[in-house]
Symmetry: C2
Subunit: 215 residues, 2 copies
């Protein structure tokens, strides 16, 4: 009788055991995300993390082997949410150049509406730009599309991706140290479009288009 105990009575599949387990795991991840965003460090004790997740200390070891495992999962969780958020807002845009411009500007707006995700992106995002999961594939896909359509001009898509991603995170870094004026996102988007090969006037036009709202 090990299997087939799904008397699924909830929306998110699986039985109540599994849902409780998933909830506990998510509570630990949420606590780790908070701590990461607040302190930028992973030095909090497991006791403290468990307490913040409102979970017993020993429970931690039911879900993760080490503290690093948890923080890795937390970063992945936050960046996946970030990627899906941007995807959903920009899915109606066809022009790859406009997609990039919108993503840059929206990321800067995210700093106000989703400070936790923004902090994690700023502090831990860089190594994930080139990763095979999460943000990496999305950015690469959009660059390839733009190049294939002749809109972008660059030699190596991997180099282009690290340049775009690094520039974006650099802007977040700047934004965390001083208040940027409202047009900073547009300026950055314009520079990134120029970097990808668009003529200056065209880059300016696209970077200043009206922007869809975040949910």
């Amino acid at each position: 009788m090990p299997n087939q105990l799904d008397t699924t009575d909830g929306p998110a599949g699986a039985n109540r055991f599994e849902r409780r387990r998933a909830r506990t795991r998510q509570a630990l991840i949420a606590a780790a995300r908070q701590i990461l965003a607040e302190t930028g460090e992973t030095s909090a004790s497991i006791q403290e993390i468990a307490a913040r997740a409102d979970v017993g200390f020993g429970t931690f070891y039911n879900h993760f082997e080490t503290k690093n495992d948890l923080f890795d999962a937390a970063v992945g969780d936050a960046l996946e949410e970030y990627g899906q958020l941007l995807d959903s807002v920009t899915e109606g845009i066809d022009d790859p150049a406009a997609v990039f411009a919108a993503r840059v500007r929206l990321t800067l707006r995210l700093a106000a509406s989703h400070p936790e995700i923004t902090q994690i992106l700023r502090l831990r995002g860089l190594p994930h730009i080139n990763a095979a999961t999460g943000l990496g594939p999305r950015a690469l896909r959009d660059l390839e599309i733009g190049k294939a359509s002749g809109r972008f001009t660059f030699e190596d898509p991997l180099v282009a991706r690290s340049a775009v991603g690094g520039a974006l995170i650099g802007l977040l870094q700047l934004n965390s140290t001083r208040d940027l004026d409202a047009e900073a996102g547009e300026h950055m988007a314009e520079m990134i479009l120029r970097m990808l090969g668009l003529p200056a006037d065209e880059a300016h036009g696209i970077a200043t288009r009206p922007l869809p709202d975040l949910p």
Copy 2:
């Protein structure tokens, strides 16, 4: 008699007491730089750091209050060395666009010749781009010169600086995960020049010029 004990008999000023003290401090910083470059972490114990610096455990507290103080000093030390290195190699170049291109390409070469500095720049450089000491002022100065001479076109020099710096560190991040071909530095330099407002053909020409050698 607290002062005036300089019977300076060495090259680097000060008396032997002070030179010994400086040597010990530098040994601690060098150990911290090594550890940072090797592990990317600051979690090594003070015992371990002192052992690697070949000084007694208690000596640590003669020079630094906390482990973080030491690592901060170590990062500053490495990035200052990086800045001076690039300055010395590019000091003969007049065109600010050529200076930027050379710095980008040299930074990538530094990954082979100075792996320790490169690692620290990659792992800890981002927050220093906007700092008031070290790398920050140099980059800002060069951007302002380029803009004043009409060679660069951008709205906000701070935004431009974070974009350039972030892109460069993004490239280092990429370089740490896979072997880049020899032209990657040129491609990145070309993109950065375009980002700063140079026409595409001109950017290409400058980014492929012969490069001065590192010492």
